[in-house]
Structure formats: structure tokens, C-alpha cells
């Protein structure tokens, strides 16, 4: 795999070489290539990165880009060591992807120490733009606060004012539950109970039965990946949605819904910043992506890798030099963002990328025209409402 990446970049380097390369940039795609998040990140992120480089070359051939990639195995120590090696030895200027919150926080620190740039697209923790924010990091796609605001707020407004949480028993799950509970109570709802489920859990039936017994109108799934899939699959089996209770997926990617199928996942409400079938721009990108990925459509993380690299390269072209990471990131914050996948947006001083998010509902099988025809849009949530207000995150870069 590494070989094909190198080959592709060597080829693009050759074609670019003809056009007077001035600025050289080396990008490292650091994600999960073999573990539980490899469908969200993995090879798809490398493909998205390559597409971004391809497209940028058409806009401005003066930047010469090389892409490398590696597997951090969802381990913070491995991620930090790889980032360090890339920065110190291999001349990498920017790391992108960084799925899994614990790994992202580790890369965040190394990047600051080495004064390089880090664009996180995969991890959820809002701490990246809160207490742990740095002048070297941009958090692009989503975070736990935005998910809580999106799904939590919308469900209460739609009448789901009593909640029961199924919470994965580790930091991510508990943070998600805490953030969502805050939003639910702020909107006039009530949390009637919760159960902490061991991570990972294959059988959720006991917990679902407790949720059913609570009589809550909404069952909030504060978990991710395989846990979410199992919980939704079994909720259908136990007639939970038929009984009038709604499921709220607090972190769901389109790849999860695809693997569940619309028959099982129908009616599920969730928040995402990206879906392949939103605009002509997202559809065109997704078709190109799918051609290289066995027909799989990109996830929001893949879209973030594409858009993040595009914006980074624009800053690189403007500066002509990316060796100073903080300076490059400052340039990125200064320039408004504009790409076919997230539309127009900005990057705040704390590193938070601001764009609209969407409240989606999973289609019924009768409405779905193909295996990837998954969502219908319920609402567009404006970027300035969905993300945490700048002064509430506790980021030291924010003055006053």
C-alpha cells in the first residue's frame, strides 16, 4: 500500500516537476489503517489526500506535494512516535486525519513542540480547541459539543424531552453523555436514567430492556463504531422504535449506517457535517473517491482530509514556505475557507473550523434507491450555533 502511495506521489511529482516547482510540502496522513476506525479513516484518507493534491495542482502548479501515510493503531504512544519521526527525520510539514481522541491529543502536543501543523479531521474531543488548543492545530470536521448540540437540541425540539443514555464506559462515552445531557436540560428536557456499558459490548439487549423500561422518549447512544451498530441492530429486534421510543445516535458515520442497512437503521436521527449526496460538488468528489475505493462513499472524515489539505495548500501557496507550522496555521485562519465539500467557512482563533452541520434522518427502505442512499436532511444547523461559543472552551489563545 505504502508503495502505491509513494508511486502515485512520485508520478505527480514528475508531472509537477515540469512546471517549475517552488514550494515543497510534505503531508503525513496518520490514521487507523487496520483497527475499528479503519473504515472511517484508513486507506480512504490517503485516497482523499491524493484527490486534494490532484485538484490543487490544477489550481496552482507551483506547490510540489508529497504524501506519506502510516497506521497509528489507535495507540497514543504509537501516534506520537510516528509524528515525531516524521517531523524530525522525514521532513513532514503537516499531519492530517488523527482519528481517535487520545491519539489526536498526543499528536497535538508533538506538533506544537516541533512547530509543525496538525489538521485533525477524525477525532471527536472538543478539548483540541478547548484547554488543549495550540497555535499549530486546526480541528476540521466535528467535535463532541457540536454532536450534542446538533442531535441533542434537535431531538428535544421535536418532542423528545425525556432521555435515557446507553453510555460506553470510557472517557469518550462519558464526555458525550455529559455534553448531551447539558444540551437536553438547557432545552427543557430531562434525563431519566443511564447505563454504563462495558467497551466493547456485543449484546445490548439487557441494556435496551432497561432503557425500554425507563419509559424515556429518546434513547441516546453515547458510543461509537461497533457498539453503536450492535445497539441499533438489537433495538430494532426488540421492537424499541416500533414501541414509540426514538434512537439518537450521538456519533454515527455514514459507513456505520451503510453497514446496518436502511431496514435496521431507518428513522435514526444523527448529526454530520458531510454526506456524499448533498450537492453537485459532494457528488462529483464522492464518485471519484468511490472509483478508487471499491465503490465505497467517503465519510465525513475523508471529506475533511480533502478539504483540509486543499486549504492548507492554499496557505502554503500564499506563504511560499511552510517550515514554520504556527505561521502556516495562522495564515489558514486568516484566509476564509471555500471548498466543494463544506462550502464557505472560517477557522477560528482557537483552531475550530466553522461550517454548517446537518441533522439527518436515515431513510426507510422504500425511500432508499440504493445501498448508499441513506439520509434525508431534516435541518441545516448554522455553524455559529452548532459549535461551542469561542469564549466557553477555555482555550488560552482566546483573549478576554
Amino acid at each position: 500500500m505504502l508503495r502505491s502511495v509513494l508511486l502515485a506521489t512520485a508520478l505527480s511529482a514528475l508531472t509537477l516537476g515540469a512546471a517549475q516547482a517552488q514550494t515543497a510540502v510534505k503531508i503525513g496522513v496518520l490514521g487507523d489503517r487496520s483497527g475499528v476506525y479503519s473504515d472511517i479513516s484508513g486507506e480512504g484518507s490517503v485516497v482523499a489526500a491524493r484527490l486534494a493534491v490532484e485538484d490543487f495542482a490544477k489550481l496552482d502548479p507551483s506547490v510540489k506535494v508529497e504524501i506519506v501515510s502510516a497506521d497509528h493503531q489507535n495507540k497514543p504512544d504509537v501516534g506520537a512516535a510516528l509524528a515525531r519521526q516524521w517531523y524530525d527525520r522525514d521532513g513532514v510539514d503537516m499531519v492530517i486525519d488523527g482519528v481517535t481522541s487520545s491519539v489526536a491529543l498526543a499528536i497535538n502536543q508533538v506538533t506544537r513542540e516541533k512547530n509543525k501543523a496538525f489538521i485533525d479531521t477524525g477525532a471527536g474531543t472538543a478539548d483540541l480547541t478547548g484547554p488543549q488548543c495550540t497555535p499549530n492545530t486546526v480541528h476540521w470536521v466535528y467535535d463532541t459539543v457540536a454532536l450534542a448540540n446538533g442531535t441533542g437540541g434537535a431531538m428535544v425540539k421535536r418532542g423528545g424531552d425525556t432521555w435515557f443514555f446507553l453510555t460506553a464506559d470510557y472517557v469518550f462515552g462519558q464526555t458525550l453523555q455529559r455534553d448531551t445531557s447539558t444540551v437536553v436540560t438547557k432545552n427543557g428536557g430531562k434525563v431519566v436514567g443511564s447505563v454504563k456499558t462495558p467497551f466493547p459490548t456485543a449484546d445490548f439487549s439487557s441494556f435496551l430492556l432497561q432503557a425500554q423500561g425507563s419509559g424515556a422518549k429518546v434513547i441516546g447512544l453515547a458510543n461509537a463504531g461497533g457498539d453503536t451498530i450492535n445497539a441499533i441492530k438489537q433495538a430494532g429486534e426488540f421492537g424499541i422504535t416500533e414501541g414509540g421510543q426514538a434512537l439518537a445516535g450521538l456519533l454515527v458515520f455514514s459507513s456505520d449506517v451503510y453497514s446496518l442497512g436502511t431496514k435496521v437503521a431507518q428513522g435514526l436521527v444523527l448529526t454530520e457535517p458531510f454526506y456524499w449526496d448533498l450537492t453537485d460538488g459532494t457528488r462529483a468528489f464522492s464518485d471519484r473517491f468511490a472509483k478508487q475505493m471499491n465503490g465505497r462513499k467517503p465519510t465525513a472524515n475523508h471529506a475533511g482530509v480533502y478539504a483540509g489539505i486543499l486549504h492548507y495548500l492554499k496557505a502554503a501557496a500564499a506563504l511560499k514556505d511552510v517550515k514554520d507550522g504556527a505561521k502556516t496555521v495562522a495564515k489558514m485562519k486568516e484566509m476564509p475557507t471555500d471548498d466543494p465539500l463544506f462550502g464557505k467557512g472560517t477557522i477560528r482563533v482557537d483552531g475550530r473550523k466553522i461550517h454548517d452541520m446537518y441533522l439527518f434522518e436515515v431513510k426507510k427502505p422504500a425511500e432508499s434507491k440504493g445501498p448508499w442512499d441513506l439520509y434525508k436532511t431534516l435541518a441545516t444547523i448554522p455553524g455559529n450555533e452548532v459549535f461551542r461559543p469561542l469564549n466557553e472552551g477555555g482555550c488560552p489563545l482566546v483573549k478576554g
Partner: protein, 295 residues
């Protein structure tokens, strides 16, 4: 409403029933492990991967050949069993004279390879597999909603476990099998083809795993890691029941399902560890396991 330790008895019944259902998977998987260990002296770490394969074969039959659940229930164990026979013939058979550890390492490596191949091909999120139409829906019992499919899981696994036990305990074939476990050299001297016996036993043991995989496909996420998640628990079940004890593994499987179900009510956070705590206690008191014989 009557309550026990603050939990309504009705909810408790529901949880006990669910525990029994999960116990079905433990029972059927640990039965296969116990048979393989009893006769081959192999600690089959590939069992989880073969369980996963059973679920994937069911999905492939449906997707590529249009053959539904009932076909899969028959064909997938057959496919997995045949695959197991090949493994035994070409790899495992070479290790019988060596220490247990070699068998464990070989099968563990095989498990990693099989999982890796499936992950490469199908990704990690899993694949959709629906509950067969005949078994969708459920019964509203006084204390819970019981999906028909879950009831079927208990019936199917009890039947298979019972049938296996009857064959081993009550038939001539089973008598050979038990004798070969006790003293293979002597049995071979009586003209029984022991190597063939071993191959078929391994095939049958892993076919049980394949069968459990098909049972699991409609209710759990069909993904390459599904076997790795369950196999450690199943090993604990086998250790608690007593390595190589056939009936012990079945009874322990169901019993631990119940214990786990109760833990999910009283202290959910511990439900993933309770089985291992029991394992430690059992090993302290009865090192050969509840139903095992001390050598």
C-alpha cells in the same frame, strides 16, 4: 410490585431470559472447544475466527448466491467444517507430538491471518444481515418483549448441544471417540483409524463454531472482529467448566450467561469482567474446573 434488591422481579425475569440466550452462544462455542481439546489436545484459538467465518459465509451465500438464512444454517457449518479439516490435515496434525503451546501459537496465528484477510476485503464496520422473515417479530410476554429470533437461538443451540452430547455419550461412534481421548494408541491397536477420527472431530468442532456464527449474524454486527471479542469469554467458560468436559462446557455456558445477565442489572460496568472473576475463584478452589477430572 415485588422487588429483589430494588429491581422489580418482572425485569429480573427478562434479564434472566436474555442471559440464557447469550449463554446459548457460549455453550455452543465452548462445546466445540471442549471436544477439540478433549480429543486433539489442541487449544483452538482459531475458534473465534471460524465463528466469524460462519457469519460471513452466511452473508456471502445471501449476497452472491441469493441463498437465505435456512440454507446458510446448513451450508455455512459445512463450509467452515471443510475449511477446518484442511487446516487440521495440513497444519495442526503436525503438532500433536509437541507441547500444547505450539498448537496454541499456531491457531492464534491462524486466527490473526483469517481476521486480517476478512478485514482487508470487507472493512471493519460490518455487513448487514437481516433476521429471516419467518422469525421476525416477537411475543409480548408478561415481563418482556421476546423477539422470536432469540427464542429460536435458544431452541436451536439447546438442540445441537443435546444432540452432540447424545452422540458422544450414547452411540458407538461416541464410545470410540471417548476411548480415543483416553488412550489413542490402544484404540488404534483395535483397528480404529485414529488420525481420521481426529480430523473429523476437528472439522465437527469448528462446524459448531460456524453454526454459532450463522445464529449470530442477524443479531450481532457481522464484522471481522466479532470472533476475537467473544473467544476470550468462551475460553474462560471452558476453563470454568473444566477443559475437555463436554457436558460441563454446555452447562457452564448457559449458567455463565445467566450470571452475566444478572450482573447487567445490578452492576452493568462489571458485566464484561464477572466471568473472569468467577474463573479466578473456580481455579483457586477447583483447579480442574467445575466438571473437570483431576489428572
Amino acid at each position: 410490585m415485588t422487588t429483589i434488591f430494588g429491581v422489580p422481579t418482572q425485569a429480573l425475569f427478562g434479564q434472566l431470559l436474555l442471559g440464557l440466550i447469550n449463554g446459548s452462544f457460549y455453550a455452543i462455542l465452548s462445546l466445540g472447544l471442549a471436544i477439540i481439546f478433549g480429543l486433539l489436545n489442541i487449544i483452538n484459538f482459531a475458534h473465534g475466527a471460524l465463528y466469524m467465518m460462519g457469519a460471513f459465509v452466511a452473508w456471502m451465500l445471501l449476497t452472491y448466491l441469493g441463498l437465505g438464512y435456512w440454507w446458510a444454517l446448513g451450508l455455512a457449518p459445512l463450509v467452515v467444517g471443510l475449511f477446518g479439516i484442511l487446516l487440521e490435515r495440513f497444519l495442526i496434525a503436525r503438532l500433536y507430538k509437541l507441547d500444547h503451546l505450539y498448537g496454541l501459537l499456531l491457531t492464534f496465528g491462524l486466527a490473526l491471518i483469517i481476521q486480517g484477510l476478512f478485514r482487508n476485503q470487507y472493512g471493519v464496520s460490518g455487513l448487514p444481515y437481516a433476521i429471516p422473515a419467518e422469525l421476525s417479530g416477537g411475543q409480548r410476554l408478561p415481563f418482556m418483549f421476546l423477539p422470536n429470533y432469540r427464542a429460536w437461538v435458544v431452541v436451536a443451540s439447546l438442540t445441537v448441544c443435546l444432540a452432540t452430547w447424545l452422540v458422544i455419550e450414547k452411540t458407538k461412534l461416541g464410545a470410540y471417540l471417548r476411548a480415543a481421548t483416553e488412550n489413542p494408541t490402544l484404540v488404534q491397536a483395535f483397528g480404529v483409524n485414529v488420525p481420521l477420527f481426529l480430523t473429523l472431530t476437528y472439522g465437527f468442532g469448528v462446524a459448531l463454531a460456524g453454526f454459532a456464527g450463522v445464529l449470530a449474524a442477524p443479531i450481532y454486527s457481522v464484522n471481522p472482529n466479532m470472533g476475537a471479542d467473544i473467544i476470550i469469554v468462551v475460553f474462560a467458560v471452558v476453563v470454568i467448566g473444566g477443559m475437555g468436559s463436554i457436558l460441563g462446557s454446555v452447562i457452564t455456558g448457559f449458567a455463565l450467561g445467566l450470571v452475566e445477565g444478572l450482573t447487567k442489572v445490578f452492576y452493568p460496568e462489571a458485566s464484561a469482567t464477572v466471568i473472569f472473576v468467577i474463573m479466578v475463584l473456580v481455579l483457586l478452589v477447583k483447579p480442574a474446573g467445575l466438571f473437570g477430572r483431576t489428572a
